[in-house]
């Protein structure tokens, strides 16, 4: 670790702490804590969404995958981006119009049933924990690689930073950490892309021509099939990505930080431009790394290819650029985990404690305390799990989180907004069939069971053939909702007119 890295690293840490200090002064109520008072503008929230969404796995992982596998490395980015159309057309506006702090609030606008709130909170917590373990384990390994800090200390460092942001600065600090991270990430990738394109004389054709001969894959590098060879598996995963984003609690939570549906909409617009342009630039990073670093060097530094972008920075801009890119990756990790802590805490403190245990009658002071305790609890639990999961292969947990979000959360969101006959039993059935089928199927899939010892969590022959169960569990979640609704005699038709009017007009908000 050289002096430049330490300096840039400390600047980022100091900057985020200053933000937290000022944010803490403005965090007095639960609304401040969970939603930054609902006062973010469209571009601010759009950048924060991008900052919340683009994890280190997106930045270092995708750049590396493209460098090693060509088109297949880029494939997921398409799903990650198109997913925002589902967010925009189906979820963002009704969520803003009906909800307060959490997804469960929105569903409860229709069903005033504690069990539905509890179920929605449970699936949110499950998603957050899985996503978090994957992020922290990845973060620990990455920081170890980037800065030479030991895994345990790396996880503790990230864990303590995220706890400080959320505990003291709530959503205001989290949002601004995410916004700054989005800016740094874009600046870093623009610089790297520029340097790469310069080497290709700013000719995309020249770039394709060169990478065609630069890798061991040859021509196949530019076409699908180098990495993903089982068609149904690829389709299942891509389905999870496109439908899952609209059910991710930490993304959904961001829509409560703006004042109305119109601003929610414009934040999605900002997010799609930032996220989309970022993913296009990862192609330049990946191809650049393939051509100017070479797959041998990339793999020898880290088998998964995570060091492709920093190595590229080293090759094109020397130590200073590499230090900057490493620091950007660190900021990226912090912004994502802080958002996750906050959404996990809101499910525990607002849904389970405030609304279910205290029946919505907790005082503001009690709610704030609960929110802070829950934040520390979620952070501590995640750190603990990440420490134990160090040697496990947990990268699949990210796609599992998307899969649960698509299977357990999306059906209930869609039915709540669009289906008149939908009822409490249907909501319970949708959440639980989606959640349980995703969990059961993945636990008997190749992601968890592998005949080769050490390759996955359990050694054995997988019973379910696909690595991601989305293609089965998403339809099950939707069917579960229908079956549950039809089997029950309850009817919430009367309440539906209220939900429909409020969701579509933005009027009569209950706050």
């Amino acid at each position: 670790m050289n002096a430049t890295v330490i300096i840039i690293f400390l600047i980022i840490v100091a900057m985020t702490l200053v933000i937290t200090y000022f944010a803490a002064k403005r965090t007095n109520t639960t609304s401040d804590f969970y939603t930054a008072g609902g006062g973010l503008t469209g571009w601010q929230n759009g950048m924060a969404i991008a900052g919340d969404y683009l994890s280190a796995a997106s930045f270092l992982g995708i750049a590396g995958s493209i460098a090693l596998f060509g088109f297949d490395g880029f494939l997921f980015s398409i799903g990650y981006l198109v997913a925002y159309l589902v967010v925009l057309f189906v979820v963002a506006e009704p969520l803003r119009n009906l909800g307060k702090f959490t997804l469960a609030d929105m569903i409860n606008a229709r069903f005033n049933a504690k069990k539905v709130r509890g179920a929605a909170a449970l699936s949110s917590i499950t998603i957050v924990i899985f996503y978090m373990i994957a992020q922290l384990v990845g973060a620990g390994a990455l920081i170890q690689l980037l800065f030479g800090i030991e895994y345990l200390w790396a996880v503790l460092l990230v864990g303590i930073m995220m706890t400080i942001y959320v505990l003291f600065g709530g959503m205001t600090a989290t949002s601004w950490v995410q916004i700054i991270k989005a800016v740094l990430l874009m600046v870093g990738t623009v610089i790297l892309s520029f340097l790469v394109l310069q080497r290709f004389d700013f000719s995309i054709l020249e770039m394709f021509a060169q990478v065609k001969t630069a890798t061991p894959h040859g021509e196949a590098f530019l076409n699908p099939g180098v990495r993903y060879k089982i068609p149904l598996d690829t389709i299942s995963l891509m389905l999870a990505l496109v439908l899952g984003t609209a059910g991710l609690p930490h993304i959904l939570m961001r829509f409560f930080t703006v004042r109305d549906a119109k601003t929610a909409r414009s934040s999605v617009m900002w997010a799609t431009w930032i996220v989309g342009i970022f993913y296009v630039m990862t192609i330049f990073l990946g191809f650049g790394a393939a051509a100017f670093v070479g797959s041998e060097t990339i793999i020898s530094t880290n088998a998964a290819g995570n060091m492709a972008a920093p190595l590229l920075a080293q090759a094109l801009g020397g130590d200073i650029l590499m230090s900057f890119i490493s620091a950007v990756a660190f900021a990226t990790i912090l912004a994502v985990v802080a958002g996750l802590v906050l959404s996990g805490a809101s499910a525990f403190a607002h849904d389970i404690y405030g609304q279910i245990i205290k029946k919505g009658k907790a005082t503001e002071r009690q709610q704030m305390l609960a929110a802070r305790y829950a934040s520390v609890g979620v952070a501590a639990l995640s750190i603990l799990l990440a420490v134990f999961a160090q040697s496990l292969n947990v990268a699949f947990l990210v796609s599992l989180a998307f899969c649960i979000a698509a299977s357990a959360n999306l059906p209930v969101i869609v039915y709540t907004i669009f289906w008149k006959k939908f009822n409490t039993t249907g909501a319970m059935a949708a959440i639980f069939t989606g959640l349980i089928s995703a969990l059961v199927l993945v636990s008997i899939s190749p992601s968890v069971m592998n005949p080769e010892a050490g390759a996955a969590i359990i050694t054995g022959t997988p019973i379910f053939p696909l690595t991601n169960p989305a293609i089965v569990s998403i339809p099950l979640g939707f069917i579960g909702g229908v079956v549950g609704t039809l089997l029950s005699k309850e009817s919430d038709v009367r309440k539906y007119s209220e939900v429909k009017v409020r969701a579509n007009t933005g009027g009569f908000r209950q706050l």
Binding site: F71, F74, L75, I78, G79, L81, V82, Y84, L85, L88, F89, V90, I204, L205, F208, A209, K212, L222, N223, P224, G225, Y228, P231, L232, T234, I235, M238, L239, V242, R259, D260, A261, K262, R265, S266, V268, M269, T272, W273, G276, Y279, V280, R494, S497, E498, K500, V501, R502, N504, T505, G506, G507, F508, R509, Q510, L511
Partner: protein, 138 residues
């Protein structure tokens, strides 16, 4: 279901929930406790039904289009090598289709932003008919 109330006063049917919008145009009960309007009446009003019709006419085809193209892309690249042919130079069709999906996302978002302004106006108008002002009620 009352269908003749368009333009009329929102009637307090259910007395529940607390609304932050104090001092608003919605009908209020005694002692400052706010009552919710007759949502059935709003739902049945011509303005709201027109809004829903226009929204559906836009959203359903658009959702079918983007999900359809996205799934088509995934099926084609997974099961065939149709897109492996060169487009220009060494750039194959798969990159063109992939970029097309990116462009589609940006275009649909932009189109929707425009269209949604109209939806907003229709919603505001309908709410005004029922004496509800969004701005005041924030």
């Amino acid at each position: 279901m009352a269908k003749t109330v368009a333009g009329g006063k929102a009637r307090a049917v259910q007395a529940k929930g607390k609304n932050r919008g104090e001092g608003s145009g919605t009908v209020k009960g005694e002692a400052g406790k706010e009552n919710l309007p007759d949502f059935d009446a709003i739902e049945a009003s011509a303005g709201f039904r027109d809004l829903m019709k226009k929204k559906k006419a836009f959203l359903i085809p658009v959702i079918a289009l983007f999900l359809g193209l996205y799934l088509l892309f995934n099926f084609v690249i997974s099961y065939t090598d149709w897109l492996d042919q060169a487009f220009v130079g060494d750039i194959t069709w798969v990159w063109v289709f992939a970029f097309g999906l990116f462009a589609m996302t940006w275009i649909l978002v932009t189109v929707y932003m425009k269209r949604a302004e109209k939806f907003d106006d229709m919603a505001t108008k309908t709410l005004k008919e029922f004496n509800y002002d969004k701005e005041e009620n924030r």
